[in-house]
């Protein structure tokens, strides 16, 4: 009797979790069939296709109709770009430069050493040249203390500016500093920047116009300019572009084919990687995108394929191993990630043998002059000429570069790839645990259209699951989305975007600096931990109280009525706990200081830091 009671209890205990999981899955599945109201549809479409609604966006989508607006976002070429964006991007020149030009103009410490040793010429650009010269002098100073050179600029600052002007630049009000900077004749700007002490440049950074700020940075830390341009460019595009879905897709595909900016020379390769390998293909055919990334120097360098040679190459050359230089051989990194992360997915049905065979096919896909111009180069001399079998397909002996192309053909048309890409897209745009039926329909589109990404996106965005209760507010914003959406919701004016990139890094998502080839997760869990949650709340307070450098919120647009202010930024009503907490905060503030009513900015900060705002 007693024994059976224990048994029954044990069964009950064991059964409960299984039963609840199943029940939960059923409830979830049902939620993806439940329709949204008209207003919810509008907000949902904006939340997913853009980096958050701006004031007026809801009305625009309502007027056009959700379906028509989604279709327009799928065809960015039909959308006129915002002129303000072009103005912001204009000074970010490394985004448009070739790798070679970038390397020459923005030297690394190693390059500076080479210039110091006379093994490399100085760059042509006067500010870049001065930066290198100054650093070269520093190296010399360090080498020999007796030869100490006080690093005097060609023309000292007090010959270029009056004492009064210099004083203002040091201690003046922001407006006065701006005036002084604006009064410097164009032909003298470079001299003035070079003559300034580094601390003065740092202090003026937030108030200087973009072009001048670049010169400051170039003089202080030339090697940081590329990271600066990339971050600013990405932020301005996300904040201002009218082609919002295109920017979402650039973010998605860059993350899918992730490259870590700080791995050696990848620093110089990332701007052209995003510009040439990712951006043109985001709505194109997957096979072309795959080709572009497989041949990109940034990827070849990041996943080491540029060093991979036929396993017997060292023996053929009669060296390696015991004699001096370490043996070179096959490197499987790219092969493995190509299968696991770029195409089939980890459960896509490949073996370790396939990884090795794929790596052999890509031997010889390398970089010409990795420390110089860095372009793709196929080196037949190091290619493995033997027969390979990839996923059951025989690639005959005696092939060349074509071996790799055949692998890409197989992978780009593989059903596992269609599933894997469709699942990633739904995790990004629909929900963390998306319904399998939707993934299946997208995978079918993928296979029917030879991997037409726009067609796959169309299947997803016109599905009932996309505009369902199951998807509504189901995603936690990434740090990048959280910060950009707060800028858009408050219609903040950004004159200097880099400090925002700093904040995004504090929230846990340093831009272009995901070290692992996995990229950032498309699911929620990665983004919510104690430190990052606190950082979100603190950012919300800083933003609304205008304590974020380079960004200005017009506090007058926040309304006296807290509910109104909340709606201004959430584009819907706040949840009850959020509303109650705001009401209580106001009441507390009033009780403490009856004469100074709480500012609407306080309310705005609470709204942006609230759980409601962390969802999209």
């Amino acid at each position: 009797m007693r024994k059976s009671l224990v048994l029954v209890l044990a069964i009950l205990c064991a059964a409960v979790p299984a039963w609840t999981t199943k029940k939960k899955a059923e409830v979830d599945a049902k939620r993806f069939q439940e329709k949204l109201t008209k207003d919810e549809q509008v907000l949902h479409a904006l939340d997913r296709l853009t980096f958050g609604p701006r004031p007026g966006d809801v009305e625009i989508v309502k007027r056009m109709g959700v379906k028509k607006w989604i279709d327009l976002q799928l065809h960015p070429e039909k959308i006129t770009e915002d002129r303000a964006l072009e103005v912001k991007l204009a000074p970010l020149e490394t985004l448009r430069m070739t790798q070679g030009d970038t390397e020459a103009s923005y030297p690394t410490p190693q390059m500076i050493r080479q210039v110091a040793q006379g093994r490399q010429p100085l760059p042509d650009d006067p500010v870049a040249r001065a930066a290198v010269e100054r650093q070269v002098r520093r190296i010399k100073v360090k080498k020999d203390e007796k030869d100490a050179d006080p690093m005097e600029p060609a023309v000292p600052l007090d010959k270029l500016l009056s004492q009064a002007q210099i004083r203002t630049l040091r201690n003046g009000k922001p407006e006065e500093k701006k005036e002084v900077l604006a009064s410097i004749p164009q032909e003298q700007i470079d001299d003035v920047v070079i003559a300034m002490p580094p601390q003065m440049r740092n202090q003026l950074m937030p108030i200087a116009p973009e072009s001048l700020r670049r010169k400051f940075m170039l003089s202080n830390t030339p090697q940081q300019v590329i990271a600066y341009d990339l971050s600013e460019g990405k932020l301005y595009r996300a904040i201002l572009s009218n082609r919002q879905l295109q920017e979402q897709m650039v973010d998605f595909w860059y993350n899918h084919f992730n490259v870590f900016l700080d791995k050696g020379n990848d620093r110089f390769m990332v701007p052209s990687y995003e510009r040439e390998a990712i951006r043109p293909h985001v709505f194109g055919h997957f096979r072309e995108l795959l080709e572009a990334t497989a041949t990109a120097p940034a990827m070849l360098f990041y996943l080491d394929n540029w060093q991979s040679v036929a396993p017997d190459f060292s023996r053929r050359q009669g060296r390696g191993g015991a004699g001096g230089r370490p043996a070179r051989g096959l490197n499987e990194n790219y092969g493995r990630e190509l299968l696991e992360l770029h195409t089939l997915g980890v459960d896509g049905g490949y073996t370790q043998k396939d990884v090795t065979e794929v790596a052999r096919c890509f031997t010889g896909w390398t970089i010409k002059d990795p420390r110089g111009g860095s372009t793709f180069f196929y080196n037949d001399r190091v290619h493995d000429k033997g027969e390979k079998i990839v996923l059951g397909v025989t690639i005959p002996a005696g092939g060349g570069r074509d071996d790799g192309e055949k692998v890409l053909d197989i992978l780009a048309r593989h059903p596992s790839t269609a599933q894997f890409i469709s699942k990633e897209l739904t995790q990004r745009f629909v929900a963390d645990n998306p319904p399998q039926a939707l993934i299946d329909r997208m995978a079918k589109t993928f296979l029917d259209t030879d991997g037409d990404i726009r067609a796959v996106m169309n299947t997803m965005l016109t599905s009932k699951e996309f505009l369902s209760q199951g998807a509504y507010q189901a995603k936690v914003k990434t740090p990048f989305e959280m910060i950009v959406s707060s800028i858009r919701a408050t219609d903040a004016q950004v004159d200097y975007a880099f400090p925002l990139a700093d904040r995004i890094a504090k929230l846990g998502q340093p831009l272009y600096r995901k070290l692992e080839p996995t990229g950032y997760s498309n699911a929620n869990a990665e983004w919510i931990n104690s430190a990052s949650l606190l950082a979100r709340m603190n950012f919300a307070l800083d933003l609304t109280q205008n304590k974020v450098q380079g960004t200005k919120v017009d506090q007058a647009r926040f309304h006296e009525d807290p509910a109104h202010t909340a709606r201004l930024m959430l584009f819907t009503n706040p949840t009850a706990p959020t509303r109650d907490a705001i009401d209580k905060a106001i009441a507390d503030q009033k009780a403490k200081n009856p004469k100074a009513p709480p500012s609407p900015a306080l309310v705005a900060g609470l709204v942006i830091g609230s759980p409601d705002f962390q969802r999209r």
């Binding site: 191993g321 004699g323 846990g508 104690s530 949650l533 709340m537 603190n538 307070l541 609470l606 609230s610």
Partner: protein, 413 residues
């Protein structure tokens, strides 16, 4: 497993949240809540840049060592201040590490020789990545070994079980267990008090499961940190931490350990070890390496001293991505190599001994004819510490693909 106690505890906690809990319940709750407030702690220190292990623990018994390093070798123990500090007649500590000798003599510091990652890479980037993920050769691992090392526990978990001192969460601590990166204990809060209360109430009452759960943990952690902050911190036993980042980080970690807030694993790192040029100055106790080792040794020494008896609960382990060439290069430095040296110290460590099989420095004994060969996988060391210090025996989880690390007997099993 369900238990009545857990149920009571969570409903009582909900009451704490709305401030309606009587003080006696709160006390009883927290007393019952943590089975033992004194936790076993594992502290991992990463020396980034590849430290030259052969000049940290000097194989002074090897003639070849002195032949291969004519200008940068550390002299044999000679009773003077610039010679190696002898450990066992074969190996000696760099003279700038004198702060570690008392720990060795007390039998609480172990040296592990010829240890490292079996992966042949000599890229800092890849090798650090592999050592932190705990999966050499495998780049797609998304989490770190120290996060996976946290034992599975039921019931309420401390919000500060796992911390890293620094701005960003390091690779080693990323993963499914909550881990917190703290630059500075004082910064870990919402900047203004009224807003903090507002946020706390929003997140406490939110029906959003994810944000509600993490929000509660966050504000608990903030309160813990604030309560610790209220007391000024004076290191015990006359310990003096160096002013560098490593010393200050270890001081914060010691403070958290002594506060019994549930810390179980901590991570911190220290850079600058990539000594290609002028590794050793005019004297062995001068130059880049000596300066770094002084800071390193004194920081670890201060930590040991400050903890006093609490060292019984603590184990510290040090690592670096790879060693350096056995031979010095043309610039009085060393280049990227292979195997290296690790330290482990703490109350449970069977110290006063150099562990690991010494592979020798003769040409045929070197790895690829240039570097110290590897005889111990770093996961053998970490695996033993995770198992015996933290009590987490699930090596399939902590080191997937390396399920049976070979323990060296560093701790009592």
């Amino acid at each position: 497993m369900f238990s009545r106690r857990v149920f009571l505890k969570s409903s009582a906690l909900a009451m704490v949240g709305v401030g309606a809990t009587p003080a006696w319940l709160s006390r009883a709750l927290y007393a019952a809540d943590a089975p033992s407030p004194r936790k076993k702690v594992l502290v991992a220190i990463f020396q980034r840049g590849a430290v030259d292990g052969l000049n940290v623990v000097i194989p002074h018994g090897e003639k070849r060592y002195y032949e291969m390093r004519p200008t940068i070798a550390i002299p044999r123990p000679n009773g003077a201040s610039d010679g190696a500090i002898d450990l066992d007649g074969m190996f000696g500590l760099h003279p700038s590490l004198s702060a570690l000798k008392p720990i060795y003599d007390a039998g609480q510091l172990a040296v592990i020789e010829a240890v490292g990652s079996p992966d042949p890479t000599r890229s800092h980037f890849d090798a650090q990545d592999y050592m932190e993920s705990g999966t050499p050769g495998r780049k797609a691992t998304n989490d770190g070994w120290l996060n996976r090392a946290l034992p599975k526990e039921s019931g309420k978990l401390s919000p500060v079980r796992a911390i890293s001192m620094g701005a960003a969460l390091p690779r080693a601590l990323r993963g499914s267990n909550d881990a917190v990166a703290i630059n500075n204990l004082a910064e870990f809060q919402v900047k203004d008090a009224p807003s903090s209360m507002g946020f706390e109430s929003m997140y406490d009452n939110s029906r959003d499961k994810v944000l509600n759960g993490t929000g509660r943990e966050t504000f608990e952690a903030v309160k813990l940190m604030q309560s610790i902050q209220k007391q000024p911190y004076n290191p015990a036993n006359g310990a003096k931490y160096p002013n560098g980042r490593l010393g200050q980080s270890l001081m914060q970690i010691a403070r958290l350990i002594k506060s019994d807030v549930g810390l179980e694993v901590a991570f911190t790192d220290v850079g600058g070890w990539d000594t290609h040029v002028n590794e050793v100055g005019a004297k062995p106790t001068q130059g880049q390496l000596a300066n770094l080792l002084t800071d390193f040794g004194n920081s670890l020494g201060a930590f040991y001293q400050d903890l006093g008896d609490r060292i019984a609960d603590v184990t510290v382990v040090t690592m670096s991505e790879f060693g350096r060439t056995a031979k010095e290069n043309g610039n009085r430095g060393t280049d990227h190599g292979h195997a290296n040296v690790m330290f482990a110290f703490g109350g449970g460590i069977k110290g006063g001994k150099v562990y690991g099989d010494w592979p020798g420095l003769e040409p045929e004994q070197l790895y690829e004819n240039r570097d110290l060969n590897l005889t111990t996988d770093f996961r053998d060391v970490l695996g033993e510490l995770v198992t015996r210090q933290l009590g987490n025996k699930s090596m399939t989880t902590v080191f997937p693909g390396y399920e049976q690390p070979k323990f060296r007997g560093l701790m009592v099993g």
